[in-house]
């Protein structure tokens, strides 16, 4: 295991993962965590619990060292609806920027095991990874470029859905990105999506589940409506594991459940199969 992980995160393929904030104890097994060890194991606990990773960590995990070129990082969100309560949207945005975050989707080009790819990564830290106008714009532009240049497209999701503070314009992003996904498909370009914890609402009901190949991370919660809202709306008792990656695999919604430590070589192999 450790040799393989070292290979995955080695300078030759990817860069060492940046630090990801984790709790002191694992929510999966309750054991106290050794942060360095965890980092060396792609933020997967020995018990199998997969910690959420931010966009930079995903890029470091998947892009070959030095190949990542981010695009449209300068496209910035604005408060178009004058959203004020419970917190002004401008304040929410400023706070996220102060923490060094740049929108819920980062996108650009890279190589994965020597093959050129477009990568788009959701960052759950930015307003819950919500689909916004800027997120939708970055996704749509990348998808269009990928279709035009016939470059495989790789999506990593982590999102609560559409961003409430942008109202119906956030909803419209679902159509905007799916239109672009359609172009990618018609151009015959491979599209893989990796669903991480959590993937819900406007993201699962738009581009996340429209890939040629949908991979989910073990234990990731994936669905349309969140369990809390389902319970509220229907008073239903939900079975353990409801909406987990394994549940979605059993219900025919994803192709594969792949541990993060094995993700990179699996994607490289699949990319080879689809681009031969």
């Amino acid at each position: 295991m450790s040799a393989q992980v070292a290979h995955l995160t080695s300078a030759r393929f990817g860069e060492p993962l940046p630090v990801v904030a984790v709790p002191t104890n694992c929510p999966g097994c309750g054991v106290g965590l050794d942060e360095d060890e965890l980092r060396g194991n792609c933020y997967v606990c020995e018990c199998g619990h997969h910690f959420r990773m931010h966009a930079q960590a995903w890029i470091a995990l998947l892009a070959d060292g030095g190949t990542w070129q981010e695009r449209w990082a300068d496209v910035r969100p604005h408060d178009l609806l004058d959203w004020r309560r419970p917190k002004p949207y401008e304040e929410t945005l400023e706070q996220a920027r102060d923490e060094g975050l740049n929108e819920a989707v980062r996108t650009g080009t890279a190589e994965l095991a020597g093959r050129p790819v477009w990568i788009a990564v959701f960052d759950f830290r930015f307003v819950g990874g919500t689909l916004s106008i800027v997120a939708g714009e970055r996704l749509a532009r990348g998808l269009e470029q990928a279709a035009m240049t016939r470059t495989p497209y790789l999506l990593i999701t982590a999102s609560g859905g559409a961003r409430m503070q942008e109202g119906v314009l956030a909803l419209m992003q679902m159509a905007k990105v799916n239109a672009a996904v359609g172009r990618l498909h018609r151009a015959g370009v491979p599209y893989f999506s990796v669903l991480t914890d959590p993937t819900f609402g406007g993201v699962s009901a738009s581009l996340a589940l429209m890939a040629d190949l949908t991979v989910a991370e073990p234990g990731a919660a994936i669905g349309f409506t969140g369990a809390r809202v389902i319970k509220q709306a229907t008073y239903a008792d939900l079975p353990p594991g409801f909406q987990s990656a394994e549940f979605q695999l059993a219900h025919g919604q994803v192709d594969l459940v792949v541990p993060r430590t094995e993700l990179r070589p699996r994607l490289a192999k699949l990319l080879e199969l689809y681009t031969r």
């Binding site: 959203w83 559409a162 109202g167 314009l169 905007k176």
Partner: protein, 283 residues
Amino acid sequence: MSTAHRPDTLSVWQVVELARHPDRPYTLDYLARMVPDFVELHGDRLTGDDPALVAGIGTWHGQTTIFMGNQKGRNLADRLRRNWGMMHPEGYRKAMRLAEQAVKFGFPIVSLVDTPGAYPGAAAEERGIAAAIAGAIMAWFEVPVPVVACIIGEGGSGGALGLAVADRVLMMENSIYSVASPEAAASIVWRDNARKVEAAEQLQVTSRDLLAMGVVEEVIAEPRGGAQTDYDGAARVLDEALWRHVSQLQQESGERLVEHRYDRFRYIDSLIGAHPHFGPKID
């Protein structure tokens, strides 16, 4: 916009309540007046039939047209059967089955949206509601016949969008269209769905808001007092507006239609701020 549009006389929440008025005309009320020979068709050919979506075929302005629309119930038994207009995956798959038929025969499509959202229940999740909506949204971009949608009551969330990826999207004057129902949005941002009125105000869900944002092409003025007071009058103005758009779109080639539909949604957020009437209605 029609001069008969009187948005300023009602509060946002009053509009929400009109959009949800239990006597408001539903899809079948409109179809009974617009398409006397309407034949409802059933089933998605995979799992079942979704009574929350009525879909079928009939003669409209002298030509065969595919109609689909959400149907809420009038009494408790009916509401239960129609699931309050909240669709399961079967509904979206039925819609796209009929859209494929429209393509095969070159029929235009009219879609009437009236749903609080897709069904937020376990059965919908188990049968892939997210993929059903996503697949419908993507498939609408490859339908080379005229598609006109109208929000006739509630247009809630992705569940509504799955039926509203059209060349023209219209709204009845007292309808609402939103990223999430006001209750769901309040539950998300406040963790308290009792803040629904504030949520509705901030979300900007009325027909005037949507027109100002450039998300819909036209607002259809309702009979005085709202569509629930005059079904015949409401059906007349809806019919007139839908036909005006469909007949215009029929001048375009299928290729141009899908090209324009792509651009419509690709750049739909570019008009924000360009309209003088657009702005928040809270202090």
